[in-house]
């Protein structure tokens, strides 16, 4: 059990403080930097809260659908064999299936990095 408040809570609170308390006193030339910092804090907070590991999910699905064999942890869980098979044309008739699986993975990553983008893309 982590100490409370959690890291995600701290980040959210710090971000709110940055935007509400500090930002109004910053010179306009620094606003872009402040907004970038706020954005980075929001991503980090969402990442800490996200229970699902998008790479694990992807690897599991790959093995279910494409029997790619062992997952190479050194490559962030992405099987190199899959890339080789794609380039070699072995998966040409399964591109839609692979695309749907990858989109599922992308959606999970966007829930962390930019949930608004999903909404704009009609996926939320």
């Amino acid at each position: 059990m982590p100490d409370a408040p959690t890291g995600a809570d701290l980040l959210k609170t710090a971000r709110s403080s940055l935007l509400k308390e500090l930002m109004p006193h910053l010179d306009e030339s620094l606003h872009r930097s402040a907004l970038m910092i706020a954005n980075a804090m929001a991503i980090a907070a969402r990442e800490l809260e996200e229970k699902r590991n998008s790479d694990e999910l992807l690897c599991q699905r790959w093995n279910e659908h494409f029997s790619v064999g062992d997952i190479d942890e050194a490559y962030g869980g992405v099987p190199m064999a899959l890339v080789d098979r794609l380039r070699g044309g072995e998966l040409d008739h399964e591109l839609n299936k692979l695309g749907a699986l990858l989109q599922e993975h992308v959606v999970l990553r966007l829930r962390v990095s930019n949930p608004k983008y999903l909404k704009q893309a009609g996926l939320d």
Partner: protein
């Protein structure tokens, strides 16, 4: 400021004096302009006495920044391309003089006439231009791009640009795969898109002089009128639709997705003007193909920018956040190419 300890302002003033055979040069302004991670631009106002160009001149001096990209042209090459474009009537800042350094300064630079207006993409896209102003601007952009694309390797030799050996699409696919192979992780969504691009590569293509970074943010606008196309460091011989695809890709609409042409307005306004000038109209399939290629390119650029941060070469929050844009770009790609029709797979 200076390069190798030489004051750039003083050096440039003396250079202009020699280039124009002026009796005297008075520098009224010399200040760095915003932007330009790869190149630095300085606004320079000079008053020349005597010589071949007496009077007041508003100029821009362009030189290399510390960071550089392998794929970008040298300043000398860029000056040559800009000169060819200017002579062909493309709306660009008039190129004036090139300094090729022989060790006295430590870097090349060139001077061009400063054009009026603003290049800020977000201001332009979200600004208060009327519908007819937007269509008028797109018409100017379409015409100026068609003028540029009228320059072909058969008509014009450009020493700085080697003649292409492979079809443009195949060259790009090879280039992007090669870059991905050098990065730390595989990227299956980009690999999927590259395979789709390979399967659907155009069987016929034109090769013309392309800008290589023709997008909103890289041209100047004043009162809704195009005043000049900037940033020519990625120019080369390629398929003309590559420029149009880059301009229209979702990543360069700055959030205004429904305005398909660069976030400015309707695609037809751009393509109709292009067709009037060029005598042909890129079709929907070609444009779709090069939009996908553009999106892959932006993903590769984002990964390279993130790598500069991750490797410790240039720790930067902006570069780090660009890396976290990858899922957005991948979603753009998947929404562009899915579902893949059977005939798109059987093209190989």
């Amino acid at each position: 400021m200076g390069i190798n300890g030489v004051d750039l302002k003083v050096f440039a003033g003396e250079f202009i004096k020699r280039a124009t055979k002026a009796n005297a040069v008075k520098l009224d302004r010399f200040e760095q302009l915003a932007g330009g991670a790869v190149q630095e631009n300085y606004a320079m106002d000079v008053e020349l006495s005597g010589g071949v160009m007496p009077g007041l001149h508003q100029l821009v001096l362009r030189t290399d920044a510390v960071a550089s990209l392998d794929a970008s042209l040298s300043r000398a090459a860029e000056f040559e391309v800009l000169s060819v474009a200017w002579q062909a009537g493309v709306l660009v800042p008039e190129p004036l003089w090139l300094h090729v350094d022989e060790g006295e300064l430590g870097g090349d630079f060139y001077l061009m006439r400063r054009v009026a207006g603003d290049a800020s993409a977000r201001d332009l896209v979200r600004g208060d231009l009327s519908g007819s102003q937007r269509e008028g601007l797109l018409a100017q952009l379409g015409e100026t791009l068609a003028s540029l694309h009228g320059i072909t390797p058969e008509k014009k030799t450009i020493g700085a640009l080697p003649a292409p050996e492979l079809p443009p699409a195949i060259r790009r696919i090879q280039e992007y795969r090669c870059t991905l192979d050098k990065l730390r992780n595989p990227h299956p969504t980009l690999e999927l898109a590259l395979r789709w691009l390979e399967l659907n590569a155009p069987r016929k293509h034109r090769v013309v002089l392309t800008h290589g970074d023709f997008r909103t943010g890289n041209y100047m606008v004043e009162d809704g009128q195009l005043t000049g196309v900037l940033d020519w460091e990625f120019a080369g011989w390629s398929d003309p639709v590559e420029d149009l695809g880059w301009f229209c890709a979702r990543c360069w609409r700055f959030g205004e997705w429904e305005r398909e042409a660069g976030g400015i307005g309707p695609l037809d306004a751009l393509l109709s003007a292009y067709e009037r000038k060029a005598g042909w109209r890129p079709d929907v399939t070609q444009l779709h193909y090069w939009r996908v290629m553009a999106t892959v390119r932006w993903a590769v650029i984002a990964l390279l920018q993130a790598e500069r941060h991750l490797s410790g070469e240039q720790p930067s929050l902006e570069l780090a956040l660009t890396g976290r844009m990858l899922p957005e770009i991948e979603l753009d790609l998947l929404q562009e190419i899915l579902p893949i029709a059977e005939k798109e797979v059987s093209n190989a």
